[in-house]
Symmetry: C2
Subunit: 227 residues, 2 copies
DNA sequence: AACTTAATAATTGTCGACAATCTTGAATCT
DNA sequence: AGATTCAAGATTGTCGACAATTATTAAGTT
């Protein structure tokens, strides 16, 4: 599952390893959202010095998983509904643009590759008639490849480096194995079709609606819960 | 001029001060783009320990002004044409969305305030019939307020916290006192009009075209230079 | 002379300790 | 009793030194 993790250069330094460990634990909720981070405590837990722990904290801050205040300390970000919707707004804007660029930038070979991946996802989906796999892996994989296809390093950094794990965190902690799987699959097909047609304008619009639909689905769901 | 600097909480720790100093020097080009950063050398230059210098470097990395490689070191980012155009693409997507949100989120009072600011910019512009002030301060100020008006913290963080100084760096180093001042001013007025009409869709489109026009202007200019 | 290889120098990563700041709790005052 | 002040405790910020890695230089070989 980490194969589709972006900007992934094998963790070489020990701060890298602590960073990845903590990243995983925060995303999965083992370190609770909103909780305070005690440097001495965690340094002891991971058996490293406070310096290298702080180095790891700096990287966690870079991908928006923790927040720091001077002379006070760090906290894991809270998972609020407002925050979740805000991220979807950002994704709508950035991935929409990435999709527009992908339509002109992706190589024919990359498009064919993505088509076959999508086809295999469709088979898997029907085989398991399952929702989980597609939603977890397939969706992230599709979006990841389109973003890469934009060939815009700045876009790629923001989406795959800084927002990616925050999105995963929300998915984990809000338990999103949404029932939008089949519809999302169809939408992916339509998006890819627009890309294959080299129609950037349409591709952007479809991607934006795809993400907006996801957002509205969540809004609806959460409204139901809070009656 | 730093009054419009976002997310600005008076630098309390010494690492903060070093960060701001270096940020300024990098943006202005006193520390050359693309140059290698020697931790011992800079620690001596600023009279601080390597630890606090590294803390400052981490923040510079957060706003994309330097890049680090494990066991190798840090370099100031290069100012390439490709990089500049990439940022404008990101801005087009994000500020477009911010503008759409601002149309529904800004308070009437905020809109009126921005209108009067814009009006005074118009006077200043005519008074000096100058390009510099407007382009430097006014443009950044207008965009900054619209972004804040989106009321989307994630958007605000990315645009005002992570990309803001990189944009300034490009402006400085490519010497952009563009002749688009009067046109940009009119475009700002049109955008604000759409916001005041609470027409998010139009506001987004106008903002996107405004930024895209700026980008194309730069493309044209740079093509001319490289004949 | 050009290319490898080995030793040296320099730089980055990590560590533990001290200083400055914030938080907590008890004692005091209104 | 409630609020305020002050002191003790704990946490974060900063420092200098050591270890690990990389860059540089010199020697040696073809």
């Amino acid at each position: 599952m980490n194969s589709l993790n972006p900007a992934r250069q094998a963790p070489v330094t020990t701060a890298d390893k602590i960073f990845e460990t903590m990243q995983h634990e925060i995303v999965e909720g083992e370190i609770l959202a909103g909780s305070k981070i005690s440097e001495p405590e965690l340094a002891k837990k991971y058996q490293v010095s406070r310096s290298t722990l702080r180095e790891a904290l700096n990287r966690l801050e870079k991908c928006h998983l923790i927040e720091r205040k001077a002379n006070v300390g760090s906290r894991v970000v809270e998972c609020t509904v407002k925050g979740l919707l805000e991220i979807y707004i950002v994704r709508e804007a950035l991935e929409g643009m990435a999709c527009r660029l992908a339509a002109t930038q992706m190589a024919d070979s990359e498009i064919r590759e993505l088509q076959s991946i999508l086809a295999s996802h469709g088979q898997d989906k029907k085989l398991q008639d399952g929702v989980a796999y597609y939603q977890e892996e397939g969706d992230l994989d599709f979006h990841y490849r389109v973003i890469q296809g934009s060939n815009n390093q700045q876009l790629i950094n923001i989406l795959c480096g800084e927002l990616y794990h925050l999105v995963r965190m929300y998915r984990c902690q809000f338990g999103m194995n949404s029932p939008r799987a089949t519809r999302a699959y169809d939408e992916h097909k339509a998006i890819l079709h627009a890309i294959a047609d080299r129609d950037g304008e349409l591709a952007e619009m479809l991607m934006r609606r795809h993400i907006a639909a996801s957002r509205k689905n969540i809004e609806r769901k959460l409204e139901q819960e809070n009656l």
